[in-house]
């Protein structure tokens, strides 16, 4: 067992874990944060996407010990039902979800896309969503929601106003 400390949504979480514990399991079972989903467990679906030190990663493909000392943001840390993040609001306004299973990962990845200044072109957004699967086939509205945030308030995702050329 290893004792690790990861700052999750601003709160230091210190727990004893086996080295084989995945980051997503640490978040769900040790921290009680079940927003990051384990859809495929094979690095394909992106439902487990969280931010580690500001970058989107798949928490099912990372050991919790690798993230020791790091800063993790999950969907729970992005906004709350009463004070939603602009990306969450955009997903609601654009009806960018149906069953909702992929949504936490889509939103975390959407924020990362806007942060990197890549939300200005629908084709680029689709390319950047390659690591996220939606089986309700709701991509069109997801892409529109991300583009909307990229247009209206990129700074809410840590992105600049100007959209980078790709």
């Amino acid at each position: 067992m290893s004792q690790i400390s990861i700052t999750v949504n601003g709160i230091v979480q210190t727990h004893e874990v086996e080295p084989r514990t995945l980051l997503v399991k640490f978040l769900r079972e040790h921290c009680g944060l079940t927003g990051a989903h384990v859809g495929c467990d094979t690095t394909q679906c992106g439902c487990c996407t969280v931010h580690l030190d500001g970058r989107a990663v798949k928490s099912c493909t990372m050991l919790a010990v690798q993230a020791d000392g790091g800063q993790v943001t999950t969907i729970e840390g992005l906004g709350s039902p009463t004070q939603m993040h602009p990306m969450q609001e955009a997903f609601q306004q654009h009806h960018a979800l149906q069953c909702g299973y992929c949504t936490p990962g889509m939103i975390m990845q959407g924020v990362d896309i806007v942060r990197r200044g890549l939300a200005g072109d629908e084709r680029v957004i689709r390319h950047e969503l390659e690591g996220n699967l939606c089986r309700c086939t709701g991509y069109q509205n997801i892409v529109e929601a991300i583009a909307d945030v990229g247009r209206r308030c990129p700074e809410s995702c840590g992105g600049a106003r100007r959209t980078a050329e790709v």
Binding site: S2, E18, P19, R20, L22, D41, T42, T43, Q44, G46, T49, L52, R55, A56, V57, K58, T61, M62, L63, V65, Q66, D68, Q109, D112, I113, E128, E130, G131
Partner: protein, 269 residues
Amino acid sequence: MVDFDYVKPATLAEALALLRADPEAKPLSGGQTLIPTLKQRLARPSLLVDLQALPELRGIEVSDTHVSVGAMTRHAETASHSGIAAAIPVLTHLASGIAHPQVRHVGTMGGSIANNDPAADYPAALVGLGAEVQTTERVIPADEFFTGLYSTALTHGELVLRICFPRPLRAGYCKMPNLASGYVTTGCFIAETAPGVVRVAVNGAGPCVFRHREMEAALSADFSPTALRTCTQSAEGLNADLHATAAYRAQLVLVAARRALDMALRTPI
């Protein structure tokens, strides 16, 4: 996943001592291949030695003649580095097309080449550009580094420190990815490294990246699409799976080569 021990050493000396003391120990770089492999129980290391805290494996250096990339450099860092984009733009193109964004934020160049998946992208860049791999023990030319299916010249306890790419005159890369996974079904990397000196590397098609000597000879004489017209690729020994037969891969080698050449020809020199 089978249990294992884990250490994150703070110094290179400590990492090497840990690896050398245990034949079942494995280095862990980004883990984007190793962790899925552990989940499937295809590997059962006793100990994972995490390389992320070692400064010797970090950093990107660009000079007039070379680009040197630390082994622990993430694909996203390579893809977004302005110095690399100016010196070897095809490397930017290649790195930005590996897997998908979340994997590019974690996976590393050293990890990719040490694994030598036939469907990986970087081996084509190393062989195509004639790069050198600096390890903890020696310097290995790319032509000698990749030895076969998931095999390299690395010995147990030997770590990749840096990859040193000579700047080419012009170069291009085209891969036919598997549409679901993004892995290379067949790819081709073409570089004119000096006037009249051309290297052609093919990945994804065979068990290991290989140089296409016939295309190299033809393009060295005439760096144009016309030179490729008479080049051939045998299906013998190529990979075959549910995505592509060996004959189809042989055909894709020729198509990928034409497109890679097209990219190289659009590079201003």
